[in-house]
Each structure stands twice: as C-alpha cells, then as structure tokens.
C-alpha cells in the first residue's frame, strides 16, 4: 500500500527541481483545455497521457496545467505548449496516441509536431 510518506519524499524531490527551474528560467508549460467541450472530446485521457509520458522519460522542468474553453470547441481536445522564449504552439484534435510524439519531438527535442498544430488543421 502507498503511504503519504512516499508522497512527502516525491515532493522534496520535485521541490529541488523547482528551485533549479526558477534559477534556470527554463520551465515549459503544457496547458490542456478542460471545459465541457474539451472533457467531452477526450481531454482528460490526453492530460493523463502527458503525465504518463513525462514521468516515463523522467523529464524535468515541465508542468502540466489546465485552462477553460479556448473558444474553438470543434477542434478539442486542444493543448498549448509554452516554451520559454518561444511562440506558443497550439495542438488540436488531440488524442493519447499523439501525445508520445509531441513529448519526444517537441518537449525533448524542441521541434514542434507541425501536422498536429491548429495552423495545419485550418489549412
């Protein structure tokens, strides 16, 4: 059984990362749209897949947060990636299968996956 002591240990470990991050100012944010439209379209498994992939690869300096309706409900689930010093990248019609590619290509290698972006979808 899991105990809260384990959680305390994880927190200590992530705290160190947070300090490092603040110093290096290299925090990447992954933001998932989580309003009715996003949830109905499958945003929660997408968020879960990001958590899973980031943990599997042991990536640091990345937080996964949520926002409300972004306003283009027909393209949900929508995910925005904010890398420091770069333009925001908006991914649309997301599913759990697309997440792995975004994590490896974009979050690890800093090359956005153009074919999943809103620009590509609206072409």
């Amino acid at each position: 059984m899991k105990t809260l002591a384990e959680l305390a240990a994880i927190r200590e470990k992530t705290k160190k990362n947070i300090v490092l991050r603040e110093e290096s100012d290299e925090n990447t944010r992954v933001v998932v749209g989580m309003a009715t439209c996003g949830i109905a379209a499958g945003a929660r498994p997408v968020l879960a897949a990001f958590i899973d992939e980031i943990n599997k690869r042991g990536l640091k300096n990345i937080t996964v947060t949520q926002t409300g309706c972004i306003g283009v409900c027909r393209l949900e689930p929508i995910v925005e990636v904010y890398e420091p010093g770069k333009e925001k990248v908006t991914y649309v019609k997301m599913d759990a299968d697309k997440v792995a590619k975004i994590v490896t290509d974009h979050l690890v290698n800093h090359r956005p996956v153009v074919e999943y972006t809103i620009e590509d979808a609206l072409k």
Binding site: I10, T14, M34, A35, I51, T63, C69, I70
Partner: protein, 182 residues
C-alpha cells in the same frame, strides 16, 4: 461524455469557477438498493433563483466564449436516462449542491470511469481549494481529503507530473480496496 467521472470533472469545474474554497464530491454506490448517487457540493458564490431556474437549459451559461452551456444539461440527461433524478439547490453567497441519482443496473447508466484521474485533474485545476472526495460502496467508505494531505505532509504542487501520478495510483489502490478486489 462517456463516463460519469467526466461529468463529475465537468460539474466540479463550475464550483471552481464559482470561487469555492471547499468542494465535496460524494460517490455513493449501493448496488443492493440498485442506486448510485453523485453529489457535488461547494461553498462558492451560488446562484440566484432566476438563474437556478434556467441553469438546466442548454442556452444558459456563464461562459463568455460562446452562448451555450452543456455541462449541467448533459449530467441531468445522464441521470434521467436511467430513470433517476437530478436536483440542484443553491443560495447566493452560500454555495451550490448538485445531486444526481442513477438507477444502478440501468443499461443506460454510464460506467463510473476513471475517478482517480478526475480527482487529480481537479486538484490541479486551481491552487488553494480544499477537496473532499468520499466514495461509498455498500458499507465501505473511502475518503480523500486534500486538507488531510496538507496536515500530514504540508502543501504540494498538484501540477507536478510525479505527484499527479502518485495520487492517481493511491486513489486507485484505495478504490480497489473499497470494492474488495485486493
């Protein structure tokens, strides 16, 4: 929505937006009585009578990005499809309580789905909210309280992937216990 847990996620977001500082989620499964009850209760801003009367209408919303709000109508429909009931009570300045009652064995009752990830998603939605998640199955009860976590180990960042994963696994372990699968 494909799962009741997604409705819970969606409806509890309303509580977050209503500025609640304490949000309680109850999932009460009583197969012997053929009943499943979901209650989401908050101490947020509440709604006045006029808004409350219109709130199950899809063309009522507080959102500004468009003019329809489907969260509550969809949840109501999910309950009523099973032959169950749906009720919202609210008072301005006090809070809101949403109760959905389902017929447990109805073929139209959606599965409960992934409660652990609904809870971790809610925990990460906005800092500073006290979450209480109580889940009953027959005579067994499991309670998850964010205040209890703070009391025992202090404040934590619910947007850290490692922490999210740990809490989801913790809740899922506790639910397995609750269902007596361990």
């Amino acid at each position: 929505m494909k799962e009741l847990s997604l409705h819970i996620l969606d409806i509890a977001q309303n509580s977050v937006k209503a500025g609640a500082t304490e949000i309680k989620i109850l999932v009460d499964e009583q197969p012997a009585e053929n009943a499943l009850r979901i209650v989401i209760e908050d101490n947020g801003s509440g709604m006045d009578k006029a808004f409350l009367e219109r709130v199950t209408d899809p063309f009522t919303t507080t959102r500004t990005t468009r003019k329809v709000g489907l969260g509550i109508p969809l949840f109501k429909q999910a309950a009523e499809l099973t032959g169950g009931k749906f009720e919202i009570t609210s008072e301005v300045g006090v809070g809101t309580k949403v109760t959905a009652q389902f017929v447990y064995d109805s073929i139209d009752r959606m599965p409960l789905g992934d409660m652990p990830f609904t809870i971790t998603t809610l925990l990460g939605s906005k800092p500073g909210i006290e979450w209480i998640y109580e889940h009953k199955y027959g005579k067994n009860t499991f309670t998850f309280s964010s205040r209890e976590i703070i009391r025992q180990i202090g404040d934590i960042d619910y947007n850290q992937p490692e922490i999210v994963e740990w809490i989801a696994q913790y809740i899922s372990e506790q639910l397995q216990n609750l269902y007596g699968e361990v």
